[in-house]
Point group: C2
Chain length 208, copies 2
Amino acid sequence: MGATERDSYHHGDLRAALIEASESIIREEGVEGFTLRKAAKRAGVSPGAPSHHFKGTRGLLTAVAIRAFERLGAELAILPASGVPARNLRVQAEGYVTFAARNPGLFRLICRVDLIDCQDQDFREASFSALAHYRNAAAAYFGEDPPDRAARIFRPYLASAFATAHGLAHMILEGRPALLFDTPDPARTFIETTLPSVLLATWPDRHC
Amino acid sequence: MGATERDSYHHGDLRAALIEASESIIREEGVEGFTLRKAAKRAGVSPGAPSHHFKGTRGLLTAVAIRAFERLGAELAILPASGVPARNLRVQAEGYVTFAARNPGLFRLICRVDLIDCQDQDFREASFSALAHYRNAAAAYFGEDPPDRAARIFRPYLASAFATAHGLAHMILEGRPALLFDTPDPARTFIETTLPSVLLATWPDRHC
DNA sequence: GCATCAATCTGAACGTCATTTAGATTGATG
DNA sequence: CATCAATCTAAATGACGTTCAGATTGATGC
């Protein structure tokens, strides 16, 4: 549970262990509870060891953010797709917000551009790939071709398709639902009650 | 420019000076560049002095956040209002996003619930008051009575009215426009080109 | 005008943080 | 089996927030 036991002087796969440890810390204590020393301790190494595998704290957090985007992408990928574009877009948006609500630490991390190396190619690739299904659903709904990898990510219609869900996600993480509901899980209640009607108002379509 | 000169042992109005200094630092270097010691130095006092006026760093940042909400509220209050509800709502939303783009540090601060005492009554009051015009515009557009001070802030229609603008604001602060435009001020370009069409898609109304 | 008191500020300390460096350890190569 | 580069430790550095004893002073009561 605490520091990982280790028999040899070398760790074996410290890089992976640090990412794993960091993700756990962020899940348990949030991004603000994360420190490089904690991650090193949890992986069973000294505070200076991580520097051989990552460019400082930022490098490690960038790697964790990449994993977070991969998890988001995996969740969006398995959502059911119907023949109704509006419904598909709404399912993707709801999945996006649900991911943020269920993984507040990870979602906050991928939005903390001050903590991450946003120029990192793997990071940019991961952030692009994660939203593939969402993007396709939006393109189908708005009747446009989905942008390819070389094209700019955000077109006006895409901004529209992302902004509402992104805003709702942040509202949840900023604690708005707790002001509204006294249920055991206010965020869940928020998603189940407020969100569908919001998406309905944003992208009205009686075919859903 | 640097430390404020001081003739007497006592500062006179250190509380206000610390808030002023902190806001300047956050404007210049962002929230992540802020430290309590910097603020103390800029106000011309020792690192321990602020503790007599604020409950730690969080107390000071909460005071700065209150000021930030007041500035946001002041900007939204002077926006022109017409007889067309849809237009008024759109003007408020655009003002909201513009404030975020022009004051990235301050806007990030009021969203950093980990740095602020969100239970603070003055803070809650300020956050509520700042959005008065926005709320009224949304209520008029959706044909509902605006909620009074005692009522819960967010209803579904209000969440809808805020989510898109809030999401766009975060997208700007997360650097998305820089991926899109090569202009000297990508955020400005984003607002002037992408944003109106996004708001149009979100709240379609040919009376604007 | 003066003594007293509470508010305010300093200076130094403490523990934690990220990061760097010299040196110890060891897996891999020849 | 010797060599070498990769990996890790231990210690140090400087900045951070916070606390505390003591210095200073504005304000109050006389």
